[in-house]
Symmetry: C2
Subunit: 122 residues, 2 copies
């Protein structure tokens, strides 16, 4: 699993369109299509519904969108912290939470029943 592919996925998830996403990412559309397919193969789950011409995130896709966002944020913050650790004397404490889609906070359709904490990607 590579952060590069996570960025690819999030761009497609935001646009629901591989062609537009590829332009944003400055790569070609076939390359992006292949990378998304390989990601689905690696995770062994369908992230997009391709029955329509327009791509649509599956339930698993929505879940993975949240997790991928969290992962990239943590990576970015880590890179920052590695350089700032020597300079700053007082930092911040961040709380994050992860919930399964089928937790009591969601109904059986995966709809969210409660609002997440501010800043929490639920």
């Amino acid at each position: 699993m590579d952060t590069r592919v996570l960025k690819y996925f999030l761009t497609v998830a935001n646009t629901n369109n591989i062609t537009k996403a590829a332009k944003q990412l400055h790569i070609t559309q076939p390359t992006l299509s292949r990378q998304i397919m390989e990601l689905e193969r690696e995770l062994d789950v369908a992230l997009f519904d391709r029955t329509q011409r327009q791509l649509q995130l599956t339930k698993a896709g929505v879940l993975f969108q949240q997790r991928a966002t969290t992962l990239l944020q943590l990576v970015d913050q880590t890179k920052d912290d590695l350089h700032q650790q020597e300079k700053e004397l007082v930092g911040s404490v961040n709380l994050g939470c992860v919930a399964s889609l089928a937790s009591p906070f969601h109904d059986e359709d995966g709809q969210r029943l409660s609002k997440g904490v501010s800043g929490c990607p639920l």
Copy 2:
């Protein structure tokens, strides 16, 4: 950033020995040495102190060890959740926390001043 390299790093961090880590990972020692060096170049920070013959984690290395562990756990849990989301109706809520090394929970040498919550990689 690839999870493969994170696993490489954590194995070296645990053994303080590239040769032993390489055997555990079933790769050769030069390959592992190079991957660690490239990781340090990518992060633009020294993760290991090489003044001794025995490798030693730097402060940044200790911080990255914590973050890498968190990242890999989140990736693994995500893979699980993607398959379990359709089956389970009741799941669990997990809380995680991330603190900068220089936060009030650490003194100016980066030593931990308070014990983390059970299960929290601080």
